[in-house]
Each structure stands twice: as C-alpha cells, then as structure tokens.
Amino acid sequence: MDRETAFEKINPIICFIYIIGAMALCMFTMHPVACCAVLVMSLLLYVNVCGRGVLNRLPLLLVVYSILSLSNPLFNTKGETILFTYFGGREFTLEALCYGMMLSAMFVSVLMLFGVYHRLMTSDKLMYIFGGLAPGVSLVLSMVLRLVPHYGNQIKKINTARYIKQEGKYSKVANVMSAMTTWSLESGILMADSMKCRGYGCGTRGRFSIYSIKGKDIAVLILAVFLFASVLICRVKGGLDAAFIPRIKISRWDNIYFVMAIWNMILYLAIPIVINVTEAVKWHILRLKD
C-alpha cells in the first residue's frame, strides 16, 4: 500500500475484465514457450503492480513449483522416455515431468495473477462493479466492511474492561462474544432506524462512485480485447498445440500462428507494465525540469 501506480487509476470494470482475461490466457495453453512467456510476464506484472516487496515470496513460489512439477510423474507414469525406475519398476518418465512442469507453471502464474488481483481490486472497486447489479448485497458488503474494524475496536474495549477478571481462554471468548452480540444487535437496530429516518427505501437509489470511463480506459479495453481475440484465433488455428503424453509434440517456430500467439500474449500481459512505466518516466522528466 506504499504508492498508487498508474494502472490502479483505470476504471475498475475494465481492470476486472483485464485480470480475468489474463487468468484465462494463462490457462489456455500448455505450450512450453508460451508457458515460460506467461510465467515471466506475470512475474514482471506481479513485481510491477505490487512493488518489490513481493520478491520475498519468490522462494515459496519456487518451492510450490518444484513440488508440483516433480510430483506429477509419481502419479502419472505414461510416457515413452523413462528416466529411471523406483519401487521395483515404477517408471519416472520425461514426458510426465514436462507435463507437470507446464501445469505447475500455469498454476504459479495464476497464483501471481491472484496477487495482482488482490492488490488492484480493492473492496471499494468490487463494490463499484457489483453495486449496480446487486444493490442489496453490495450494501450488506459495504456495511460489513465498515463494521468489522468497528467491532474489532469494541472487542478490544470489552477485553480491556475484563482484563482483571480471572477466566479460562474459552469461557472468556464466550463471554466477550455474548457481550458483543447484545451490543452489536442493539446498535444495529439503532442504525436501521436511523437509515429509515433518513429515507432508506423511499424512491430510487443512486450510488456514489469516483470512477468514470475515460478515453484511456476505452483504449486499454479495445487493445486487451483485440489481443485476447487474436490469441484465441491463433489457438484455434493450432498455433499453441502441445501434447506431452505419450510423446512430446509441440508446434514450432516456423508456424506463423505460433509466433503471433506468443507475441500477443506477451503484449497482453505487458499492458499495465507499459502504462505504469510510461507514467513513471513522465513523472521523472517533469521533476527533472524543475
């Protein structure tokens, strides 16, 4: 939460569509080159959007990756090239290993994109998107988001008040909870009545939002849809075909659809990075002028 990047200022609806599209792209292909490209690009995106701090999580992701890819051949023994046998004859095949590596690359990319999602789609943005479709549920959501810290403070107060009392861990929890319930229900009724007094439920309801759709947002959306569609077309034309079992069979560089698909995938995942970096460079130049 240190700084706001330029991509965070983009309209939440477009941001949401973009991230869902990125996750879908990750899952589209098992082609080694495409998987590597997606993995590298989503790592760059992750670092670019969430800051350098996430590099600390890299070892964990690496561990997840290795465990997942190494464990696949243990469950799956199909494949032609046998690397070695264990447990008296169970085979560890190259094909299954490659398959596992691709799958775990996909999984790790999606995990990193969820990190990006967590950073970009904060609760207020989620509410902006669904506030129009489901106003009641969004209202509940916004109230819960406000009440949770409020209740947390109240629990602290109750704890302080009971500090001197000698009681077991669980009976203390039960006592605090029952005190909290009474208090929160009473204050809830007050809140509901005050909502009613201020005219909740009379007439049509508007909603507050600080977001609008600007030219830049539309441009990002068009670019994203175009790139996504082109990857999809290349996929249909067989540009990203990859089969591992029983034999490794993948499309080559001489296939024009393959080159296009890889290139467009990289471009798609690079959109936020480009926006952020351009903004940072602009800012840097402006500051140099002073």
């Binding site: 879908a24 949770v148 249909v236």
Partner: protein, 232 residues
C-alpha cells in the same frame, strides 16, 4: 422504475450470456480446465439466493441484521485468531441461519467469507468457500424451520452442526482442491482428496460444534430478546 427494472433484467441477461460464452470458450479451448467450469457452476449456484434477495427489496432492518451477524463472525474470527482451534465463523453463520432464516444464513455466510478473505488472502478457493459457508447457513436455517434443531436442543444442534461441517461444507471446499489438483496429478481420484481433507474438516467440525454448544443458546436468546423488543 420501469426503465430501471428493464436495465437490471438486461444486466442479468448479459451476465448469463457472458457465463455461457466463457463456458463455451473453455469447453473448446481450455485444456483440462475443469476448475473453471466448477467455479462458474458455483457462481451460478450463488445467483438464485442473491437474485431472490434483490427481488424481495429488503428493508433496512433485514439488511442491517445480516450485516451485523456477518461482521460479528468476521470480527470474532480476527480478534481471537490466536486462540487455538477456535473457528467461530461457521458457528455464528449457522446461528444466523437459525435466527433469521435460510436465505439470510446463506447471504451472511457468503459475505463474511468474502470479507474475511480480504484480510487473509483471496485465491482460486474464494468462491468455493463462500458457497460452502453459505450452504452451511442455509441448511441450518432449513433444519431450524423444520424444528429438528433449536434453542432447547443444544446438544443435538451442536452435533448436527458438526455433521454439516464434515459432510457438506468440508467436501465442498475439498472439491475446489480436487479441481485444482485434477490437472496437476493426472489420475488422482476424488476419494484421495476427500480423505486427505477429512482431518482438517474434523477439527473444524469439532470447533464448530463447540462454538454452537457454548455460545448458541446465549446468542439466540439475545437475538430473540431483540426480536421481541423491537418487533422484527
């Protein structure tokens, strides 16, 4: 008003079409992405309750009561995260289902999971957890309406709450693990995943039963008092 409802219908139609489109795209081009299917189905499963809630035009008190109970569940979970094996969320959501009806239980389960995942971590498992806790609230509400569980049967309530966690909510969450692991491990059988999830679910069930046993009578009593006092 007419224009607004038309707009809403159009919105729902667009959403449905989008869902169908995504399904078709993944059916054709995704490779073994059963996870996406499962998640879309789960989201579709949540829609009826949400739509019903919106259509009913809920009053201020109903909305506030659902929010209060969900916020309570999350706040207590966050405040006592250090107490070992204390998992009150499922218990409080079940109490909500019992006190305010099945659909309120479903909604509060959904919302409190979503909110508490803002504090912990959102991930591929979020929709599944939301659905599973929602179902927990819903089923408890239905059983309460049928008179099978209630304030004066606290032991039965606790046992049934535990059973719901082990047989219903746990397996739904494990299904998300299954879908995630499905591609990873080749021919993994669902039983292996469900069995490996059993210990975690058992601990969760015992914790929930404990919560129900300890706090459900006082909380229900307080809710009933409020209901009588303010004529809800």
């Amino acid at each position: 008003m007419q224009g607004k409802s038309l707009k809403r219908i159009l919105g729902y139609t667009a959403m449905l079409m989008l869902a169908v489109m995504v399904l078709i795209i993944f059916w054709k081009f995704g490779n073994r992405n059963h996870y996406v299917f499962g998640t879309l189905l789960i989201v579709c499963g949540m829609l009826p309750v949400v739509c019903g809630f919106e259509k009913k035009k809920p009053g201020a008190r109903e909305i506030v009561m659902i929010s209060v109970m969900s916020a309570l569940a999350v706040a207590v979970r966050l405040a006592f995260a250090i107490v070992p094996h204390f998992k009150p969320m499922a218990g409080i959501i079940m109490i909500t289902g019992m006190a305010f009806g099945p659909s309120a239980g479903f909604l509060s389960g959904m919302i409190s999971l979503l909110v508490s995942n803002f504090a912990f971590a959102q991930g591929p498992w979020t929709p599944w957890q939301m659905f599973s806790f929602g179902i927990g609230g819903l089923v408890t509400g239905l059983l309460y309406d049928k008179g099978i569980i209630g304030e004066n049967k606290r032991i039965v309530t606790a046992i049934i709450g535990g059973i719901i966690v082990v047989l219903l909510m746990g397996p739904i969450m494990d299904t998300s693990t299954f879908f995630l692991a499905d591609g990873m491990m080749g021919d993994v059988t669902p039983w292996a995943i469900y069995l490996s999830g059993l210990p975690v679910n058992a601990v969760h069930a015992v914790a929930t039963a404990g919560t129900l046993l300890l706090v459900s009578p006082p909380i229900l009593e307080r809710i009933n008092r409020i209901k009588v006092k303010y004529e809800i």
